[in-house]
């Protein structure tokens, strides 16, 4: 059934699905003003002390971040809190960009 479903998918439907699929990229690659969600597993690449600190600072399960300033430091906003992260940490946090809302 699955094979059949894929077989009938049009090229435009496929492109749309790929475009909307959650692609995880390093936090350091987001542009200024861009938003993204962070999964808990996104912090797995960090040492435990930094992972625990980031979680306690608000980078918890499925939180949304906004990039205030990319680069070093990477400044992000979570709720009303701004955090400054060195580039080496921002590179190791994988996030899912939030697509702009469709009109």
């Amino acid at each position: 059934m699955l094979t059949a479903a894929i077989a009938v998918e049009t090229q435009s439907q496929y492109d749309d699905r790929v475009e909307r699929a959650p692609v995880r990229i390093p936090l350091s690659q987001l542009a200024r003003g861009q938003r993204a969600t962070v999964e808990c597993s996104a912090l797995d690449a960090l040492p435990e002390s930094e992972r625990c600190l980031l979680s306690a600072m608000g980078m918890g399960e499925r939180c949304e971040v906004r990039v205030c300033k990319p680069g070093t430091p990477c400044i992000i906003q979570i709720d009303q809190t701004r955090l400054g992260l060195p580039d080496e940490i921002a590179q190791r946090i994988l996030v899912t960009p939030v697509l702009p809302e469709q009109p």
Partner: protein
């Protein structure tokens, strides 16, 4: 004994403002035994006649992080340190950041202490469209929840009443209240926080209108080049303020101690007790306390910068430079403070979470040119460049530069050898920009000043008395020349009082010189002269360098006394300096040759001649090994470079 309330919360929740609102100036900085983590303790009247002790614990993100601050908070709540478990906990949460703050509150509630939750900055949250149902929050959380604004003072009476009621009833968090099992940041904790928010909050925070402006300010303040330029500008203004504004109150302090010495001299009969009080106690303490205005001003301005939100950004700007030398960005504040005095600077390293980074910073701090070196730099650069003030000024600035370069190079060396590893990446919450509170800055400054005075009254006073005793004993009989001058002066007293006074003064100088030479300190000077001779010092300068271990600025006083130029090193008039400049050694050569002056200058920039700093380093690192190692390293480095300077110029 009054009941004790532990005040805790996340950083930047206005916890310190709330503490100040509750306790006013009735507070002091303290440490738990065996810990270098500071906390404030104050008293607060919560109802008529009832006072409680508030323990303001450091701001933390979780009670279970592997950080000294988290461990101290957890140990305090569990009664492992201090005087047993506190009677209650007062948890501060930021109304504008409830999702994260509520998770922390839950972890505090799990400790099982009678608890009150203060929802701070409620005025700001209400203006931004958020309404919190405090009664519903109390029902959901099972403890009193009080909306307050520490800034305006609203809700403080209700908070005190809630505290009084909680302490009276000893009511613990209701057992039927469900709390998350996970720590702040865990999925369970986040879900719990979201469900509580649904129940107690109406509306949602409107996005702040100045977000774009704050983004731009963050960009500028943390920019690799612009950020450094702005930082340099801010620091230049800070230094200018410290050195120019503080000079007037410093003169007043100097005058105050001079008159205090005069009063003591008149009140106490001439003898050993007068000498001890005037020269040992008052003179010794004055040499350190004179720098109090600089310290107060430095911490006041730093507190204003910190409260404005700028310093956290500046730490990131400077971090990329400091990390190349094995130092973290947080090191810049202690290194900056060290230009006033190394003692509070070493204590300020407590802000640096990593022990490796803290020790690397402590190793660099004593190289920074503190205020006590200033009179020595002023004397030696003036002697080096007679009639060339610009050259003297350039040499003066070079001393600061040499100290800074030596400090950073030492940190890099220690970081790559003994300590190993690289500085911990800086991960900081950037506080919101706001107008700094002058009252809060004044309180921080006063607190630091009192801490400094406590040191001056204990460690420094003890050292002053020991050094006085070594230079005043054994008592040396006045030389014949002095006795003759005294006799001539007494004959001329009625006919020519001015000449008699001058003769008395000369006699006093000869007696002082004889006493210095014959005292234990003088004997040590002669014994150690062979060690200091290769860098150009004779017996007199060896004594001056030895006495400068009391406090560096004592060097100038000793030089002026030993050369007979008078004991007032601050006078600086041409005649007095001429006497020092033309002073001779026992072999008839100039005491201050160019080579000797330059060698001494290098020695004073690099040497750790401050025993209180050694004691504080031992306390802060928790080991005499670091303190003694630092003393040895700096002494060897100072001697080697002074020797090289002397050899090149001699």
């Amino acid at each position: 004994m009054s009941k004790r309330v532990a005040l805790l919360g996340n950083p930047n929740t206005g916890k310190s403002s709330l503490f100040n609102r509750l306790c006013g100036l009735r507070s002091k900085t303290a440490n738990f035994p065996g810990s270098t983590v500071e906390h404030q303790v104050g008293t607060c009247a919560i109802s008529s006649g009832a006072e409680v002790t508030i323990i303001d614990l450091p701001g933390i993100y979780s009670l279970r992080l592997e950080l000294p601050e988290s461990a101290v908070c957890a140990d305090c709540l569990d009664g492992r340190i201090g005087d047993g478990r506190p009677d209650a906990a007062l948890v501060v949460v930021d109304a504008n950041n409830l999702p994260r703050n509520l998770q922390f509150a839950a972890s505090a509630l799990r400790r099982g202490l009678p608890t009150v939750i203060a929802v701070n900055m409620i005025d700001l949250a209400q203006r931004r469209g958020l309404h919190i149902d405090a009664a519903q929050a109390s029902r959901v959380l099972g403890v009193p929840v009080v909306p307050v604004s520490a800034r305006t003072g609203s809700g403080m009476d209700e908070l005190k009443a809630a505290l009084a009621a909680t302490l009276a009833s000893r009511a613990r968090p209701a057992p039927e209240i469900e709390l998350p099992n996970g720590e702040p940041g865990s999925a369970a904790s986040a879900r719990w926080s979201a469900s509580v928010l649904d129940a107690i909050v109406a509306g949602s925070l409107q996005r702040a209108s100045h977000t774009q402006l704050h983004d731009r300010l963050d960009w500028a303040f943390t920019h690799p080049r612009l950020g450094i330029l702005l930082f340099a500008g801010v620091m230049a203004m800070l230094f200018a303020a410290i050195f120019w504004l503080a000079q007037y109150p410093m003169e007043w302090v100097d005058l105050l101690f001079a008159s205090l010495g005069g009063v003591a001299q008149r009140a106490i009969p001439t003898g050993i007790l007068q000498d001890l009080i005037v020269n040992g106690v008052i003179g010794g303490v004055a040499a350190t306390v004179v720098f109090l205005p600089q310290i107060l001003l430095l911490f006041f301005l730093l507190a204003l910068l910190e409260d404005s939100g700028y310093l956290a950004r500046a730490a990131f700007a400077i971090d990329r430079i400091m990390r190349r030398f094995g130092l973290p960005g947080q090191a810049f504040m202690p290194l900056l403070s060290a230009h006033a005095c190394a003692l509070p600077a070493v204590m300020a390293t407590r802000l640096i979470p990593s022990r490796r980074d803290r020790i690397a910073t402590i190793m660099a701090i004593p190289f920074m040119s503190c205020s006590a070196r200033v009179p020595v730099y002023a004397l030696l650069t003036t002697l080096l460049f007679v009639g060339r003030p610009w050259a003297a000024g350039a040499a003066f600035i070079s001393c600061y530069a040499l100290g800074a370069v030596a400090g950073i190079a030492t940190a890099a060396l220690v970081g790559r050898s003994v300590l190993r590893g690289s500085p911990t990446p800086m991960l900081l919450e950037l506080p919101a920009y706001r107008l700094p509170s002058i009252a809060q800055a004044a309180r921080v400054s006063l607190d630091r000043g009192l801490l400094f005075l406590r040191n001056a009254g204990s460690v420094i006073l003890a050292i002053a008395v020991v050094m006085w005793w070594l230079s005043a004993h054994p008592v040396v009989q006045p030389p014949e020349s002095a006795t003759e001058l005294r006799a001539q002066a007494s004959q001329l007293k009625l006919q020519d009082p001015a000449t008699a006074d001058a003769l008395d003064l000369r006699a006093a100088r000869i007696e002082q010189q004889a006493q210095q030479s014959g005292s234990f300190a003088g004997t040590a000077g002669r014994a150690l002269e062979p060690i200091f001779a290769p860098i150009g010092l004779d017996r007199q300068l060896t004594v001056a360098v030895l006495t400068s271990f009391l406090a560096r600025e004592v060097f100038t006083t000793t030089v002026f006394v030993l050369t007979g130029a008078g004991s007032d090193a601050e006078s600086g008039d041409g005649t007095t300096l001429d006497v020092v400049r033309s002073a001779k050694r026992d072999d008839g050569t100039l005491l201050f040759s160019t080579a000797t002056s330059a060698s001494l200058l290098v020695f004073f920039v690099l040497a750790l001649q401050c025993l209180p700093t050694v004691a504080v380093v031992a306390r802060e690192t928790g080991s005499w090994k670091w303190a003694i190692g630092q003393l040895a390293f700096m002494s060897i480095a100072a001697y080697a470079l002074a020797l090289a300077t002397f050899r090149v110029l001699a």
